[in-house]
């Protein structure tokens, strides 16, 4: 069948005397192998990280090696949202809407310091990490990350995709914050926890 899967215990290739080969494998392995190698990115580029993302997609670094050369500017055909750059509060409902429009299965890469934490833009206008709006699978550090860094993040995401189980329905649920869950932290507590790290609203301009 032309599959180039590694010859390990997960795959059994058996070709008796007939010319037609066949393969026995786990369905999860086959599906995840196909998904991981054809992730169509939805580029959400708002700043200089998007320049590095373009470099990653161009011929030197060549995202086509990972089956990602097809940029999906329509979220309905996309598999992975790559948020490259800072997200101002005005864009918060827009990136959330894009995420909601993407069909399952879907993943998200937060590329760069600003998308992951707000970065140097610790001010009134910028979202302090897109994980306050949408779930993130891989954070790529850097300001901006080099293409190698983004490719490393993509390889990590591929590993994650390859280890998913179709039987585990929970991983594909759309999760809303549930106050009854033990993992839920109320917003006021998040503010309180963030305050010692300089993430408070009490700072004013110096000298005033």
């Amino acid at each position: 069948m032309g599959l180039s899967a590694p010859a390990d215990h997960r795959t059994v290739a058996y070709a008796p005397e007939s010319q037609e080969g066949w393969v026995a494998t786990r369905l999860d392995f086959l599906v995840n192998w196909a998904r991981a190698n054809s992730l169509w990115p939805m580029p959400f580029g708002t700043a200089c990280c998007a320049i590095e993302f373009m470099a990653t997609a161009a011929s030197d670094f060549d995202l086509a090696r990972f089956g990602m050369e097809r940029m999906s500017f329509s979220p309905r055909q996309a598999d992975v949202l790559i948020c490259a750059g800072r997200v101002p509060f005005k864009l918060a409902p827009i990136i959330r809407r894009i995420w909601q429009q993407m069909p399952q299965p879907k993943w998200c890469i937060s590329m760069g310091a600003c998308a992951s934490t707000g970065g140097m833009f610790d001010n009134y206008a910028v979202v302090q990490g897109i994980d306050t709006i949408i779930p993130v699978d891989v954070y790529v550090p850097g300001c901006p990350p080099r293409p190698e860094g983004l490719i490393y993040g993509i390889r990590m995401l591929q590993e994650k995709v390859k280890n998913e189980r179709a039987a585990d329905k929970g991983t594909r649920d759309e999760m809303e914050p549930d106050p009854k869950s033990q993992l839920y932290i109320p917003p006021s507590v998040i503010d309180e926890l963030g305050e010692p790290f300089g993430n408070s609203v009490n700072q004013t301009r110096s000298g005033l």
Partner: protein
């Protein structure tokens, strides 16, 4: 000058080619001739003239800003036909008034003039709009209102442009505005997510209305029955 005459840059300026100025002193360089013309024309409304790094700054009485800019735009010997910026300055010293700044450029005469009006502290931040003189003042004044809270009377559509319209925290570039905003992070995020970016635009604003007649027949029929686009 007819309304649609092509303006050739520097066509009305003296014949000499423009040269890059070198070694300009901080203060005291030669003033733009428009400053003298303004003093002759408007007298006491021109409070003072400064030349800083070779650029002329004219301080105008806030009440006569509209007249002055109208004259600079219309007069045959000035022809300031390009408004490149409207902004404001607030100083750290709480006593110093807030300045509203207009950057005017005369393409035919190759001149640049900075017009300033000082609004003393304690007075309402209101000044005349120059939208009826320069259409480009539309978004510039909206930005100035959004960031500083200066109301431009006579502007046809004065609302926020950078921040969303339901933004409640105030005017971010004012000195009394905390760098990280007035509300907590979670409250800021809650308010930001509560905005509905699609609800604010009318069909006219999206300029679909202009193109409506050019749409295919069946699409026009669907749209006129009330089908929403973009969902």
């Amino acid at each position: 000058m007819s309304r649609f005459e092509v303006v050739r840059t520097g066509a009305s300026a003296p014949a000499s080619q423009p040269v890059t100025q070198k070694g300009v002193s901080h203060r005291g360089a030669e003033a733009n001739p428009s400053a003298k013309a303004l003093q002759d024309k408007f007298g006491a409304a021109v409070r003072r003239v400064e030349v800083i790094w070779g650029e002329t700054v004219v301080f105008i009485d806030p009440a006569s800003v509209h007249d002055v800019i109208r004259w600079l735009h219309d007069d045959e010997s000035q022809r300031y036909d390009f408004l490149s910026d409207v902004t404001a300055v607030e100083y750290r010293d709480a006593e110093v008034p807030i300045e509203v700044v207009w950057h005017l450029r005369s393409l035919p005469f190759r001149r640049f003039l900075r017009v300033k009006a000082q609004i003393p502290k304690g007075q309402p931040l209101e000044i005349a709009s120059v939208y009826d003189i320069y259409r480009s003042a539309d978004w510039l004044e909206r930005e100035c209102y959004d960031m500083f809270g200066i109301r431009f009377s006579g502007h046809p559509d004065l609302r926020r442009i950078l921040m969303w319209e339901q933004y409640k925290e105030g005017f971010p570039l004012r000195k009394d505005f905390p760098l990280r905003g007035r509300f907590s992070r979670s409250e800021q995020l809650r308010q930001a997510l509560a905005q509905n970016p699609e609800a604010r635009y009318s069909m006219e604003e999206l300029s679909i209305a202009d193109a409506f007649a050019e749409l295919p027949e069946e699409m026009r029929a669907r749209l006129s029955k009330g089908e929403r686009t973009g969902e």
